[in-house]
Symmetry: C2
Subunit: 634 residues, 2 copies
């Protein structure tokens, strides 16, 4: 069992200059936009099961139901944070569509019900059936959290029961698993919502069966009459070896993250140490060898996948929004094991950068890919044929509160400095609320006020020794703490400042951290970043884009000794702190052929130009243009 | 008709400190090695047509015959340069295999004859039949050059006649063309060897038909019972639009080069200006937007293809050896149009770097891919399943002499400063020989002596005004010429120094050029090279590799003010000039976590380390290790 568990977003009220606006935009703009697009594209109609061959209606696609389910799930979270009758009505309508679309045996998938009824469960590798089921289960759990009980959770149970009946290694069952992981973590959530152990067992089955011999995807391909050429695909779907033996993060990035989420959940709930060790190996490989500085993952569009260690091209980076969202999910799970600040740092990196960049400031346009450099042709879009990313961001923004803090037997851990209030309860009976006011992410003061609820404690809470652990971000060079105005005794524990004391109602903790402008360089094995530096301040990784450079961002360089200063501009990009300075750059030599790909370095004529970097998440919200995160040092 | 034509390698005797050794190694090591591997792998046996279903013999692969044909072609060139009875016997044996394998109707392909006789010409897109035919025709022409006439050329004609009968737009013909171009340029060579216009017409047909609607590859796929999903493949094979409309270099790099060779040949021989204009557009796009500094081309292993403009990743560079070899071929053809030094420069860049790197110094190991950076796992191999590259290098080394010089009506152009002798004949009747002694490529003195043959001229050659054009390489900063010890009057013409005079027998021209160490930078749109510099001296692009760096080549940087000096080391890598110096590098900060992917730039502790760069072509000839061409500047 992991040492910590997160405080649920249902217990957290976020009131934060930065994130409240992101949640508002999600609620008021993104979710209605996604609803509208699901509706216009036929995704809702698909669940009415009216499509027939030759019909004029749009033909339900294999993963349309997952888009609908993810919208439903995200809408439930938004309603949970802020009741909204109109949204609630849409939630009920969409939930009713799912319930009505469920078949008598519990099966639920619009594509296979109307388009290929005879082909149910015949291509688990490619057809996303269990993936869609997983997202439906997650939606049902979300609505259960919102409303309690209900017909939708029951529908999810019936679907899960059907799956439990169909899949397994007993005679008459299919020894299969899904090509796109998701069902594993969804079943864990269903277990948590219902307490039914069989859903946890089914999740364990799916995780354990993956990668066993003979390879299921090859076997099912033979049954379909195809050549069993699936060998090369097995790693794409993390099915090349039993998951406990996997040491390198491979294949489709989103699938990998969803699998690892399920593995981590199971390692926690079943106290499975070999599974946990596999997760730790994979974590280490991911974060030491395959992670972009933005928290983006997946180096190639080819199967939206990981490539080899240290292969992190910038312009060609795939970095699917869903992959960073899913990395937040996985980091969050890994974090609960030992409260390791490294996990929180990766979670924060992905959240504030590679995931958040997926949505425009107005909440209505989305990136599918989040490259770290662009020549100017990469822009957010309203929607995609494969529209997985928008609702994934909405799910994340809705449940953002769950990522702030965790509790353990005698400890409260604060991972992210986001303003708001939350209730907590430690295992030792201490209960209370914390309110948190912060200037972060733009500047570094945070004030926590504790309100302890002594009535519910076994002994007056004012007499119990417990530990408050405050994360020390690696981007803060000076980290000072005071408790009620005085410097407390504190120790460092896995990247957290740990203050153990008898906390009293009304205790006030102040944290002051400097937010220097960091210049980061890469491990030299990251060939793509050689000779370049990235800027970071606080949790934000910065980039430069054409909008701020008369001669174009791509020709800008950042001399080693250039002085940059942070300045907050409230009317720029919704209010961001930019990094500015005059920098000296080499002027192009007049005789250089303008279109030569390669040219000799000539006598260096230097000139000063104004340099400005903006937070990466906010790029492509002005005029189209080139962008880069890694800047030549010159 | 192009203004110039190359002097054939049959007229050139290379005696060059650098290239003679490469030709010797090719003759004595590479060709025997390739013969042995063709033999051991069953490629020769395939032509004996003994394979049957269930047979123990290796099953002939669809493009095995091309490997055999290319070996045969390359062996003929080697024998032409230096008669070799043992090699000649092997040539005769292999030629006899082809002749015996030809079917009564002229068809010649071991795979389709024994493995899938009923599937001839059913999958032109993927099955390489016309590609193999093209290489057989080239081999037959090479043997014809070596021996004159002969049964092999006759076999090639019979095959070409069968193809001419089968393919075309007349009723009963297939309106097809090959997915892997090669037949086009081969038919032009057959036309040149035989004077038969119908082979030129057939080449024109294949070039013109490409990209016409309806798309042939989609149509043939339907005939095979497949879904016509070839759309995305069309650009892969340069078949997405008629070739005259193509403006961007796309798809499989080798196929593109072979097509452009054929197009350029036809533009020349048929005086087709629209074809020439298309070639010029494609040339411009390739050389300004898609060419590696090594003369490598093809940015991705995915279909061995070009990607978008300026996308030139270093470690992931594909840069197939065959593609650089084929770029030499195409540059050489484009060069004959107007004698543009830009074409010669690209030809030289590919020849001395991205092509030559494909072969180990001992001639027995080969690169298929020639990346510009490696973490240490990329090494030359003896052979490949798809063994196209080794024999392509051998073909190039055999015909190297053809690339030295061209003649026109009243001009002799010298493109490459390679030592040797050659005969020439201008259209105005001037005939003679040039002997050329040079210190290049390692240092910059070249001496030419003219021997004019006045007997064959319409008037005594000593009275005719004609032009000698000497290429002024862009890597030479100071270029001085003397004729018989005095500075002549000369003008610059498209990158050549043009001396027009009444040349006399025994005239001696001396060229002196400085070979500075050039530091090159990229167009800023090449994101992969930002903040990095490449070194070049003379025609050689340099790289650094682990063997020369105690702390590894990847951590080396090259400060802007580092002083480097060239030093020739005769016992290193067969004798190369290295670039050396002491350079100042930042010492890693002691507290940096050793395995962090990203770390802040700390106070810079500088130290000096010995730096050494070696010519790129010679890398991976010592112990395995990391390598990079583009070096961080800081």
């Amino acid at each position: 069992m992991f040492r910590y568990r997160p405080i649920s977003f249902t217990q957290v009220e976020i009131r934060d200059a930065f994130w409240s606006e992101r949640q508002r935009v999600n609620h008021e703009r993104s979710l209605p936009k996604q609803y509208d697009l699901c509706s216009r594209t036929g995704r809702f109609d698909a669940l009415r099961l009216r499509w027939r061959p030759g019909s004029d209606l749009p033909k339900p696609h294999i993963f349309w139901d997952s888009d609908t389910a993810k919208w439903l799930e995200a809408a439930c979270y938004a309603c949970q944070l802020r009741p909204d009758a109109a949204l609630r009505q849409k939630i009920d309508e969409v939930a009713a569509l799912f319930v009505a679309a469920q078949q008598p045996d519990g099966y639920l998938n619009s594509h296979f019900t109307v388009v290929r009824p005879e082909e149910r469960w015949t291509n688990l590798r490619d057809d996303h059936e269990l993936y869609c089921a997983g997202h439906f289960i997650e939606a049902a759990v979300a609505r259960h959290i919102l409303t309690g009980g209900g017909v939708l959770l029951n529908a999810a149970r019936r679907l899960a029961d059907l799956i439990a009946d169909r899949f397994g290694t007993a005679p008459g069952q299919m020894p299969g698993y899904c090509g796109h992981e998701e069902i594993e973590l969804a079943l864990v959530r269903l277990y948590r919502a219902t307490g039914e152990r069989r859903y946890l067992d089914l999740a364990s089955y799916f995780v354990d069966q993956r990668g066993q011999s003979p390879a299921f995807f090859a076997e099912e391909e033979k049954l379909r009459g195809g050549l069993a050429t699936a060998r090369s695909n097995l790693a794409s779907q993390q099915a090349h070896q039993p998951v406990r033996d996997q040491r390198e993060v491979v294949g489709h990035a989103v699938r990998a993250m969803y699998l690892y989420c399920g593995m981590t959940d199971l390692a926690d709930l079943t106290e499975d140490d070999t599974l946990l060790q596999a997760c730790r190996h994979l974590w280490r490989n991911l974060t030491r060898c395959k992670l972009y500085i933005t928290g983006g993952i997946g180096s190639t569009w080819e199967n939206e996948a990981f490539t080899s260690n240290y292969d992190l091209p910038n312009e060609r980076a795939y970095c699917e929004t869903c992959a960073s969202v899913a990395l937040v999910f996985w980091s969050h799970r890994m974090l609960q094991d030992a409260g390791d600040g490294d996990c929180a740092a990766v979670m924060e990196r992905a959240l504030y950068n590679g995931a958040l960049s997926g949505m425009s400031l107005d909440g209505e346009k989305f990136f599918y890919q989040n490259p770290l450099a662009s020549l100017g042709k990469h822009h957010r879009q309203e929607w995609f044929e494969c529209a997985c990313c928008p609702s994934n961001l909405s799910r994340l923004l809705g449940t953002l509160g769950s990522h702030l803090a965790s509790t353990g037997p005698d400890s409260l851990l604060l991972h992210l400095y986001i303003g708001g209030k939350f209730a907590f309860a430690l295992d030792n009976g201490v209960r209370g609320r914390i309110s948190l006011i912060t200037d972060l992410p733009w500047s570094g003061c945070t004030r926590l006020v504790l309100a302890l609820n002594s009535s519910s404690a076994p002994e007056p809470s004012g007499t119990v020794l417990w530990r408050l652990l405050l994360r020390i971000p690696d981007w803060s060079r000076a980290f000072r703490i005071s408790v009620n105005g005085k410097e407390p005794v504190w120790s460092t524990e896995r990247g957290y400042a740990c203050i153990e004391r008898v906390w009293c109602d009304g205790d006030t903790v102040e944290i002051t951290m400097e937010l220097p402008i960091l210049r980061l360089v890469s491990d030299p094995r990251v060939v793509s970043n050689a000779g370049q530096t990235a800027l970071q301040r606080g949790p934000f990784v910065y980039c430069i884009e054409d909008a701020d450079f008369e001669a174009g961002a791509l020709s800008a360089t950042l001399p080693h000794d250039a002085e940059l200063a942070a300045r907050h501009i409230s009317d720029l990009l919704g209010g961001v702190t930019v990094l500015e300075g005059l920098v000296s750059v080499a002027k192009a030599h007049a005789t250089d052929p303008a279109d030569a790909l390669y040219r000799p370095v000539c006598e260096r004529v230097m000139r000063s130009i104004p340099f400005r970097a903006i937070p990466y998440f906010a790029w492509d919200n002005r005029q189209p243009g080139a962008m880069r995160v890694w800047i030549p040092i010159a």
